[in-house]
């Protein structure tokens, strides 16, 4: 029994010896496999949530994501909706847009962004729209997150 344990111990140690080079040399392959697991996605609080729809305008398009009300369990009473504006060639100097974030046919807020200065004004039209969370240039687009109350809570 002692000899068997000893042999197992040495085999285990040799496997560990191989494990370090294998971990790094095969990192891309292992990481690709790991990335396919269902939990390997960035939480919507950070990713901004799934895209709900895109609205085309003259010279730019608006991408509206699904509202995010993330909580550890269930839904939070507060969240946000992420909206992104992408220019056909370049961002317009002024973005003035009216958003119906829940796609119920009723306008929820008006947003006015000066893309040169970053100054952003939000006019809520619905009681569930709270305030501006963040407004920032992201690569060739402009992105804003608007704080919301969860209508389901």
């Amino acid at each position: 029994m002692k000899k068997t344990l000893s042999i197992i111990g040495y085999i285990w140690a040799v496997l560990c010896l191989l494990l370090i080079p294998i971990t790094f040399m095969g990192n891309n392959a292992f990481a690709s496999m790991l990335a396919k697991l269902p939990f390997m996605k960035v939480n919507p609080i950070y990713s901004g949530g799934e895209v709900d729809r895109t609205v085309n305008h003259a010279g730019f398009k608006t991408t509206i994501n699904k509202p995010v009300f993330e909580a550890l369990i269930g839904e939070s009473s507060k969240g946000f909706v992420q909206v992104k504006w992408t220019g056909d060639k370049m961002l317009p100097p002024i973005i003035n847009d009216t958003i119906d974030y829940d796609n119920n046919g009723i306008r929820d807020f008006i947003i006015h962004i000066d893309t040169h200065t970053g100054k952003t004004e939000l006019t809520p039209l619905d009681s569930h729209v709270l305030s501006l969370n963040i407004s920032s240039k992201v690569k060739d687009s402009w992105l804003a997150r608007i704080n919301l109350l969860n209508p389901a809570k």
Partner: protein, 387 residues
Amino acid sequence: MKTTSLYSTSGKLWKSIALTLPMFLLTFVFITGGKPDFSSSSAIFSFVVTFIFFNTLFFLMLYTGKTDRFRAIGFIAMALFFALVFIVNLVKMRGSMSFSNENLLSCEIPFCHIVTTMIIIPIVLTKSIIFPGSILTGFASIASMLVIVIGISLALGRGFCSWGCFYGGWDDGTSRILRRPVIKNVNPNWRWFSFAFLLIIALSAAITLTPTYCSWFCPFKTVTEYEKITNFDTLMKTIVFVSLFLSLVIILPVLTRKRIQCGTFCPMGALMSFTNKINPFEVTIDKEKCNDCKKCIRTCPTFSMVEPGLSKGRPEITCMKCGKCIDECSQNAISYHIRGTPSGKAFTAARTLFLYPAFTLLVVFAGGNIQYGIVLLIRFFSTGSFM
């Protein structure tokens, strides 16, 4: 009276050289990343220096029988060069060490191994990762870093903290500045604080769905990247992480000669302690050889050697396998051991089997950074700029 070394390679030149030869290949592969770049004289010079540096360290470990003495040189160099290379790359890419809202919203923040402690509960309950990084693309992607954390945990357990962590070299280095501690007799029970802190961090991250340690407590933001100061909140965060760096990584390690950040505060270290139970390498104490001088207790930088441990014949679960106690024990009573194998035998085999993966890990993380760091230093001294 000094006894002869436990290890059969000690003082044996040819045996030590023969055992270093496989490391030649491993260092070549991992320093160059399999794609040697000899396009400039500085690239060739930095490669040669790095290659000689690591193989000399490994040879000296085998030849002298001392582990920690040479491990520490590579480990501290890794921390310093990692910070240099990381900061220079950030400044090149972003123009500063701080990250902006754009970086956060684009999910471009590199995933550090310490974040692992905060994503476990949310993964279970929300089936998602609470970190603004990329799953698979870009530098230090989430999937890539998780593979590394799992691989190292299985191979070395908490040995990672003394052989692979690119932050650990900071307080390992500062804890060696003074020859004698100014603050003596630090209560070793402080090591349990890191477990309490792990619990606090894991729960607070789960409740707020925010990587709270990264947001508020990580001292190493001082030498890597941090949130741009744009308001009172970010100013407070900056004051906290700089204060933690100065106290836990600089001042207290200097005064106590202990790795205070790693041994009492780091939540990742606490988590990695559990992985000590699922890998074959451990440190054992031969109670018959031990003369109870307690030098190992005084020497251990992480409070892992305590009196109950001496009587049990092994250090605490928090042992980082740095080898400092083994180097210091004049009775040769402490040694690396492979689980399942008989105690008090085959010391050289156990140590050599541990040193190969542990040192390879050091080379993997440190090699590229030291090599590129040397190129940056050459550039700096010849042009006055790192860019």
